[in-house]
Amino acid sequence: MAFFTNLGTFFQTIGGMLTDPYTVLLLLGSSFLGIIFGALPGLTATLGVALLTTLTYSMDLQTALIALISMYVGAVYGGSYPSILINIPGTAAAAATALDGYPMAQRGDGGKALGLTTTASFIGTVIGMIALIAFAPLIADAALQFTSYEFFLLAFFGIIISGTLTSDDLVYKGWIAGLLGLALSTIGRDQLQSYPRFTFGIPELEGGIEVVPVLIGAFAIPQIIKSMRDRLVLGKAQPIKRILPEFMTIVKNFKHIVRSALIGVGIGAVPGVGEDIAGWVSYGTTKNSHPHPENFGKGEPAGIIASETANNACIGGALIPLVTLGIPGSPPAVMLLGALMLHGLNPGPLVVITQPNFLYQLCAIMALASLAMWINGMFLTKHVIKVLRVPATVFLPIVTVLSVVGSYALGLSIFNLFLMVPVGIIAYLLGEMDYPISPLVIGVILGPMADENLRRALMISEGSLMGFIERPVSILLLLAILLTVCSQIPAWKRMTNQIKAKVFKRKAS
């Protein structure tokens, strides 16, 4: 009975919002703004939600939430545009999307890739929302079992898996790139004792390496240099024939969509871990369970679907501990918590009692936000694909300027440019030697988490490593890492192939 009352609230909220033209405008507007934020390198979902929080102070809570959630959903989705079109991820969360999205765009399937991204993101957001409404307390309890050991292993897993995935035959180089990123992330005052490391007395390095200039430098600069050197045509722009995207592809990949969404929800629910890791882990899992893993990285639609479903499903996941315990699950959710408190709402266990409709309102807003994102996306993909028709000589300088502005805008610091340019040149040289770049960036992003949590875990255990094998989640992660590493060793590959062959033979005979 209570369920139906709640369902009533859900649809009532949706109905109420859709009949108010101002709300509809706000919904579509914020979603559009979010997509732009996601698509521009250097502007992230976190920044977008933070900036919008200030503007929503005078609104009532529901209106503010409409703006903020639409922004969040839009920004996580928007990062995929430049990933697919020009191989420069708009946000770190969309880095895995570039692996298959860009090859697709190059062979003329850019429109298809964008269409798939849009629908995958939509489905991801909706599954995240359902998880939020149906399993919130259950998932929150599981996510809170993460201690320093698990946080370290999860971060390390993210780096290893991105190193493994970016190229099949160059796996050692992927790991080397990941370790380089890890090394870069140790620069600055350490998180536990504020001891300055590798700062060389440069005050700007005290706070550590900023992620955004590294992200932009590492992805944009090599791409710009390569395009200019090879007089590269950006991709083939083919008009999109159908507005409704590739339903067959979606149906065919339904298994991957559900798995990716669940991975996204799970990772989103772990406090402090967000969309960045979700995309990679889901991409890796999908690749390993796909009948044709060799197609990944060459424009396999399932690859895009995996990362984009997961990073949007992360949103619902991140809201789970936020709503049940007041603990935000991802960096943008931290901003969202701030906005809620600004409006006098303290999310937590009592919210169900003091504001019984809040959860359903929130879910209704998420449903509408994902719908707005989908509508905007379907409208935009038809037009952004035309970007590829712009001659590279005109387009690349614009990308360059946007990259520089994106780096500088973060804290209005000229030092970010001094960081971006060398990182970009090093990334270009590494790329020339066939080192993948994504693991380096993921290393910089996850490095502080790995470093801080490993050292804290050892501090707590007083130097003993037993903690890693005494905890269930920790053992699982450890096994996942070992398997990932072993699966790349030739001897191991031969062995598993032999076993597989033997089993197969026996079955056949």
Partner: protein
């Protein structure tokens, strides 16, 4: 003679202009630059109070956020670079007193004329299924085996860490301090049992206390506090004699204008500030968020901040985490 007259006239006009400026204050909108992010504790408090102050001022206070730098130095540098006319307010908290020793800027906190809204009191809690039911239990165990019980209290040199250190000094117990980047990760660690003890503010812990994920042991202020759904949390001052020598070390969230701003501006703002704190809206907000209103202004508030500045700066220095020696900044030892 002529000269004297003109001098007198000049002096008179100056006086009149100065007076009229003062009498006119505020003749245009005031900007309040919060040095911490939108939606954070400082931002929320300043926005709520500024909104009420607007009702007692002829013009508006517009709140913006100027974040970045070291310990909020970017926003403070911005606020200090504006003319000392009272039209620029900075929204600050006790953590900003470390900007100087951390190398964010080279000024003492006395450059501000502060208004303290207040803060949420700290308390000590333990993992919900831990054997410690009272503060005495915990202290007895900690004294029996020093450094065997792990405690989280945000980062090294944070206000919560200072509270934990003060509690250790006051009781003679010793914990193994595990640093976390912020209150929330430390509280999570206490929920999972990674650490047993956590010291953060009541505002930060309230939802976890209500969800029975943490067990509160004692408030680190003089008064007992009742939280709906949790019960009364006793004050540590009752069970530990002589604790008042070390505690309380309270949060001080508030605002400041340049100390060299005209007296008239200080007077107008102080009046509006005091009236705003008396409004039902602010009182209700404070009660909802377990925020203790201070209401200190002027010399009283300056003294509070000077004390915090000295305590924070020298603690960081002793922990080896300060970049600049507080002595070179002229900050006295606590």
């Amino acid at each position: 003679m002529k000269r004297i007259v003109s001098c007198a006239a000049l002096a008179l006009t100056t006086a009149i202009t100065a007076n009229s400026i003062a009498a006119d204050y505020p003749s245009r909108n005031i900007t309040a630059a919060v040095v911490w992010g939108a939606g954070g504790g400082t931002d929320t408090a300043v926005r709520v109070v500024a909104n009420e102050m607007n009702k007692f001022l002829p013009t508006r206070i517009n709140v913006v956020n100027k974040t970045g730098g070291v310990a909020g130095s970017a926003g403070m540098l911005y606020g200090h670079s504006k003319p000392a006319d009272g039209y620029t307010i900075v929204g600050i908290s006790e953590s900003n007193v470390t900007a100087a020793v951390n190398g964010g800027w080279d000024k003492k906190f006395s450059v501000w004329y502060p208004f303290i809204i207040g803060g949420s009191p700290d308390l000590i809690s333990v993992t919900a299924n831990s054997p410690y039911k009272t503060l005495e239990d915990l202290m007895a165990a900690a004294k029996k085996a020093p450094k065997s019980i792990k405690a989280a209290a945000s980062g090294a040199g944070s206000i919560h860490h200072l509270n934990l250190l003060a509690l250790e000094n006051g009781t003679g117990a010793k914990f193994s301090f595990i640093p976390y980047k912020g209150s929330a990760p430390g509280q999570n660690a206490a929920i999972t049992g990674e650490v047993t003890v956590v010291v953060t503010s009541l505002a930060e812990q309230q939802q976890l206390l209500k969800a029975k994920k943490l067990r509160p042991l004692a408030m680190l202020v003089k008064e007992d506090t009742t939280v709906e759904g949790v019960g009364t949390i006793p004050s540590a001052f009752k069970s530990v004699a002589g604790l008042d020598k070390y505690l309380p070390i309270g949060q001080a969230i508030g605002m400041g204008i340049r100390a060299d701003a005209p007296d008239a501006a200080k007077k107008v703002l102080t009046e509006a500030f005091k009236k705003a704190l008396e409004t039902d809206k602010v009182k209700q907000w404070a009660a909802d968020n377990f925020f203790t209103i201070s209401g200190q202004t002027g010399d009283e508030a300056s003294a509070t901040f000077a004390g915090l500045e000295s305590l924070f700066s020298w603690t960081l220095h002793e922990l080896g985490a300060a970049k600049v020696d507080p002595a070179t900044l002229g900050i006295a030892k606590p």
